[in-house]
Symmetry: C2
Amino acid sequence: MTPYEIIRRKRDNETLSRKEIFYFVDEFMRGRIKDYQMSAFLMAVFYQGLNDEETLLLTEAYLRSGKTINLDHLAARKIDKHSTGGVGDKVSIILAPLAASLGVLVPMISGRGLGHTGGTLDKLESIPGFKVTGSIQRFKKQMKEIGVAMYGQSEFLVPADRKIYALRDVTATVDSIPLITASIMSKKLAAGIDGLVLDVKVGNGSFIPRMTRAEQLARNLIRIGQAFGKKVTTYLTSMDQPLGNKIGNWLEIEECLDCLKGEGPKDLVELTVELTTEMMILADLEKKRSVAKKKCFQALNDGSALKKFLELVKFQGGNIELLLHPERVGTASYSKKLTAAKDGFISQIDTYRLGVGSVHLGAGRFHAGSKVDPQAGLILYKKIGDPVKKGEVILELRSNKQAALEEAEIQLDHFCKIQPTGVRTPELVRKRLSQI
Amino acid sequence: MTPYEIIRRKRDNETLSRKEIFYFVDEFMRGRIKDYQMSAFLMAVFYQGLNDEETLLLTEAYLRSGKTINLDHLAARKIDKHSTGGVGDKVSIILAPLAASLGVLVPMISGRGLGHTGGTLDKLESIPGFKVTGSIQRFKKQMKEIGVAMYGQSEFLVPADRKIYALRDVTATVDSIPLITASIMSKKLAAGIDGLVLDVKVGNGSFIPRMTRAEQLARNLIRIGQAFGKKVTTYLTSMDQPLGNKIGNWLEIEECLDCLKGEGPKDLVELTVELTTEMMILADLEKKRSVAKKKCFQALNDGSALKKFLELVKFQGGNIELLLHPERVGTASYSKKLTAAKDGFISQIDTYRLGVGSVHLGAGRFHAGSKVDPQAGLILYKKIGDPVKKGEVILELRSNKQAALEEAEIQLDHFCKIQPTGVRTPELVRKRLSQI
């Protein structure tokens, strides 16, 4: 068994054994298999794939590389939620405290924004003082005291995934279903979950535009979760337009606060409630979907979800005063409003372009490690199906860099299509897949 | 244009531009594109290939990375020969002085043995004192004075190929026709040739066992050579049994001396003369194949090829006395003879196994940088088609390590098949392809 022979076997579409996969990951972590061998291996996996057994073994190898958090001493079910990433997707920030306020334990490990999509951690960090790192002890204490935690992937949790993801990111090997599956599932499993709700985004603002491929990923995630004895439900949801109306870190926190006060935009609230309902079902807190749903709306309307969010922010060091008075944060120095060129109905939105535009304004990063501007971003005044009049404002750009604003204005000039007749609002939840 | 985007484009089977290929190789040589990005790129090339234009550009990029030798001031044509590697393939060592003795200028850049095949440089170095490195000035001086030089790839010639080959060797990306083509052609072109005779080995002892794939490589080499304005002829020749009877460094030098005295084994002499004839044709020294062939035999029989070989060895520091009295070198400490288990005719030889066996005995290397034992090797007493009697010696093993000898004995126990009826000797030259 040599590194060369393992690469060659995968290259020629042979099936790797447990011993080979563990050896390859373990030796890579010890520095005895080099980056250039791992990246050749990853490219071979990109072409040849991994079967279920191999994907499971890779996930296990990732898990073995670090510590895992044991939450077995907490009586209630631990359920997490994960999204494959989209534009304006701020669901986690509303869902985690909402589910926790209803009795679900939510040990959430989130990611940062990269490419055209934002990341939950960047959004949370736009709350001054908010910390997304801490010891495993601190994480467990928080879970015990308030039932919800939102952390980034520490160096102790699945270091193999961190190291391998960094390589994938610079060698064009991110877009591989088995590699995505092992990366997601290992992180979630390391946080000690009993169940998981997955939101696989489909459409022009997602990483996986085609429905068939998104379904492949969904089924793969379910199979691997099941193999670890976890309950997994996967939703395929539309990313053919942004979720809600705001894109950008602090802008999205504002919109989350609206939702937590029962005043959020319809699509964002609908999806958050749907996914939280599923978490309650997986946690065995409710059997009836309709009852669970009603409880979600109630918790959003009566302030209990907001209360839990404030507890969460306080526990992780964030400034609560600013959440109670968000207007004190102030807005970006420069802004620009784009208007409709004609009367009609919004029929299409180039979601990817909006995502890239928001990154240019400062809201995201094209390179790991870049800083983000909490105030930069976009406000979308119209969504697909909405009627517009010529000259009416449809998009607002905000940035602290004037040059970036001017560039983004040009890029975003034709971000949507307007047609003379009405169009149907696209279905938000396109499919729900559960235990196979 | 970013390294990532170039990898992704090749991954998705898009065609790369001159700018992209030059950028990728140049930046790699400058250390700004990392090994792990190059290896991911190479694996993508393994799967997607390169078209003719891309292969040409890669060859150019390799060439640009180092110096080239200009031999334009020498009036005669400069013709080199290259083999893709086989077991017992010692043709270059006879052919180079033979061609030079007939007026062809032979600026030869050779390689070392790796895996189951030996290398010309290792064989030459088994002549005490023989040096395969030197300055470009020294190389040019030697070409001017004696018309033939046999050097290794110095650090000045095509360093990009050296660096990339080292990576390919440990990432299972050697076996790619466009990468093999660029690697061979860049080295040959850097040595200032006008024409090239290529010997692509096919069969169970070659790197490319299948005829169709060998033909693809042959055509690819011809097209790239032509694109650089060079005359290229490619032979597809059988490697279903070793060439000649001896395998191992000094053993092969002994067999070359036999050939240079007109006493070599039939197959080895036949192929050497065929390829040298083609060199004379490409060099415009002869028009008629039959005349050229006759001159080759004459130069082998009248001692003029041997004389040129001695000049070559002397110029490169080798001990001529030992070539005149090869018996003084002595044999390896341990030897073992294998005998036929029954009467019949040799019908098949596992050439790959013989190659691997000779490496185990000490004649080659499994890892770049390992040392080789000049005296270790194999002597094959029978070849395909030969009649044998039960108990007759068919193979002799030689080594300076007793344990290695015992291991190799077990490995080589069934290296050939004996059948009761006669078989036809396989065709040595299977195809000849020239300008397309």
